[in-house]
Symmetry: C2
Subunit: 123 residues, 2 copies
DNA sequence: ATAACATATGAACAGATATTCATATGTTTT
DNA sequence: AAAACATATGAATATCTGTTCATATGTTAT
C-alpha cells in the first residue's frame, strides 16, 4: 500500500496517514485562519499580568483610570497603554465624565473568560 | 481640604482621590499578584494562532501529532514546541500508543474558554 | 486666557516569543 | 542489532511586547 508524500513534512512519507478520515472530516469544520487569528489576538489581550489585574479591578464596577492605577499599582502611562490594548480587543469600553474617563468591562464574555481562567488555575 | 501624596504617580497629588472607598473595598477582594500571574500565563498559552488552531483541532477528539500537523499545516518541530507550551499550561494532555502520542483537551475549562472567545469575536 | 488636572500617545529600549534547523530520544519493525 | 518511524529538544535568530520617559490632548477651574 502506497503512501502519499506529505508536503508539510518532507522527511516523513507516512505523515498524515494515521487517521486520514478523521483529518478530512475535521478539516472541513476547522476554524479559518482568520478566526484563529482573531481568537489568538483576543487571548493575547488577556495574556499580560497588568491587563489581567486591570480587568479584575473592573469586575467590581466601572472605574476611572486614576483609581485603576491605585489598585494595580503601576504608572499612569503603563495603565493607559494597557487600557488601549484592552479597548482595541473589545474587552473594555469607557465613557467620559468631566476630566475623568470611566472604564468598564465590555460584556459578559469577558467576565466568563476571566472566571473560567481563574477556575482553571485553581486545580 | 488636603490630599495625600500618591507614591504611584508622584506628579499628581490628587491621584486616587476620586473613589477612595471603592478602591479600599476592592483592594481587599483583588486577586493576588500570584493569581494574576498564573491567569495571564494561562491566557498567554492561548495567545498564539498556531496553538489556537491546535486546540480547535483537538476539540474534535484526541489526535496524534502527525494528524495535528496535517490539520494545522506547520512543521513537526513547531507543532511539538507549541504542544509543549499547551501541556505546561495544563491545556492538553497526552497518552502514548506505540510510536504515536495522542493529545487531547485537558478539561472543560479549555473548551469553554475557546467557545467564549470565538463567540466574542463574532460580534 | 491661563493654569491645573486627567488621560493618551510616540519613541526607545530591554526582555520575551515563535519559528527554523539540526539533532536527540523513545518505539517498533526487520 | 540496525533501520525506520514518531516525536521532543536545544540553540539561534528575527520579531514582537511592555515599560519608561517625555510630551501632547482634552477638560475644568480660576
Amino acid at each position: 500500500m502506497e503512501n502519499e508524500k506529505c508536503l508539510e513534512c518532507p522527511h516523513h512519507i507516512e505523515c498524515g496517514g494515521k487517521n486520514i478520515e478523521l483529518v478530512k472530516r475535521l478539516a472541513e469544520k476547522m476554524i479559518t485562519e482568520e478566526e484563529a487569528y482573531y481568537v489568538s489576538e483576543l487571548f493575547k489581550a488577556l495574556s499580560d499580568m497588568t491587563r489581567v489585574r486591570i480587568l479584575f479591578s473592573l469586575l467590581g464596577g466601572e472605574m476611572c483610570v486614576c483609581d485603576i492605577q491605585e489598585l494595580v499599582g503601576v504608572t499612569q502611562s503603563a495603565i493607559s497603554h494597557q487600557l488601549r490594548t484592552l479597548k482595541q480587543a473589545g474587552l473594555v469600553r469607557y465613557r467620559r465624565e468631566g476630566k475623568s474617563l470611566y472604564y468598564s468591562i465590555a460584556d459578559d464574555h469577558v467576565s466568563t473568560m476571566l472566571a473560567t481562567g481563574l477556575e482553571h488555575i485553581s486545580e
